[in-house]
Amino acid sequence: MTHIGTIYMKKVVTIIVVLGFVIMGVYSAISLQKDDALVVLKVWGEKGASPGQFKYIEDFAFDSRGNLLVTDALNSNVTVFSTEGSVITTFAGKGKDDGHMEKPEGIAVAKDGTIFVADYLSGFIKKYDKAYQHVQTFSGFGEKPGLTSESEFMDFCPNGLLYMAEAGNHRVSVFKQDGSFVRWFGGYGTGEGQLNRPEAAKCDSDGTVYVTDLANHRIQVYSPEGEFVRSWGKEGTAAGEFRKPAGIAIDGSDNIYVTEIGNNRIQKFDKYGGFIYSFGKEGRLPGEFGNLHGIIVSQKGDIYVADTANNRVQKLRETKR
């Protein structure tokens, strides 16, 4: 009986050891595959209306001093941060004066340091000088060329023109720095060059315009004149696929970074749409995201993302640089 018991025990131990090895092997394989491309350097912000707190972060721009400008749609303001997350000042905000805003979303800074902020609700685009004082208001709410509906993220291209994505009118509108309207391109549809709720328009060093085509789940690329160049992506969760791409940023080497509302991740591509890496998942921990919106890459290569659902900005850096 003792002998039989020993044989029995040996078999049980063997099975447990083999199972243990299998589990460890699977875990190691998953861990090796993970190999995070980004590391979180800093996280700041919480829900609230005081300076440094957020209610709905939208997009970013760097001002002429290298400070980070952050638009908050529900606090109706723009907060100026150091690149380490210290509050410098806020401007715009709720009110009746010309300088105030209702729902600021897109923000861009011209070469001379003038700051342009787009109001999603009123359709106005407001200009502020380097000291964050209001200087001009142009455009307005509507469908006619020159007016905007659901104005989203925008950028100044090397040609000095402002390119703005309009989700409501399914187009990108182009303005001169003085506020005069130049042209629009896009238009509603699913064909090449057509858009369905574009969320962001940003330019690379050549002036090529990259647009997140949110409801078509793809990235579309245009010449500075608005001619369709190429597109990539389709709806999905695999590498190179998108679910509601929102923010877009371009680094000094013309690599493209895209945030996705649906997949809660950042994907990096070369300028032709070649997949490089993806990072992130839904959650509340550092390196996890909820309702991702804007993204920007500093000259140093640090990445700032609007982790909107968590009311915070996350500053990230690539691990292999």
């Binding site: 044989i7 078999k11 529900l74 209702e102 469908e143």
Partner: protein
């Protein structure tokens, strides 16, 4: 001695097959429990999505009906007897927008989807703006400024309605 060895080898083999069977039964039991839990979780998620859809449909219906009533008032009806009743209906319907939206927001909270809650928060000021536009349009009409009310509807309210309906 040889008999003992043969007996233990037979019992060893027997134990081997018994062990495999026990292991398979345990595996099936675990699989069954995990599957049941999985179905339970997914049915809860499905229920919450149905809740979301229902509350969004309600908001959409309210907005559509209000916009239609307003349009009828501005374009077709000129009889003052009817218009007073219509004012009240339009204004009370627009008051219900917020309640309908709150129901939707509560449904997203129940599901604990942080992204959905956040996205829902974004549309709230647009709904507030839509209500404000409706009141402004009705006020212009009541003041006898029908052309201005129609212009306001075309230039602002129509677009605002589309904004909210795209969300729903």
């Amino acid at each position: 001695m040889e008999n003992d060895r043969a007996r233990s080898s037979v019992i060893g083999s027997l134990h081997n097959s018994v062990l495999i069977n026990v292991f398979l039964v345990l595996l099936l039991a675990v699989f069954f429990i995990v599957s049941s839990l999985n179905v339970k979780v997914h049915s809860k998620t499905l229920d919450s999505y149905i809740d979301d859809k229902y509350t969004l449909d309600r908001l959409n219906t309210l907005i559509t009906e209000t916009a239609e009533s307003l349009l009828r008032l501005l374009v077709v009806e000129t009889d003052r007897k009817y218009t007073h009743k219509n004012f009240l209906t339009i204004l009370s319907q627009s008051e219900d927008f917020q309640a309908a939206f709150d129901q939707f927001y509560d449904a997203t909270i129940k599901r604990k989807g942080i992204s959905e809650q956040s996205l829902a928060r974004e549309i709230e000021p647009v709904i507030t703006e839509l209500r404000r536009d409706i009141v402004k349009c009705v006020s212009l009409y009541r003041a006898g400024n029908i052309v201005a009310a129609r212009n306001y509807y075309n230039k602002r309210l129509y677009g605002r309605t589309k904004q909210v309906r795209r969300f729903t």
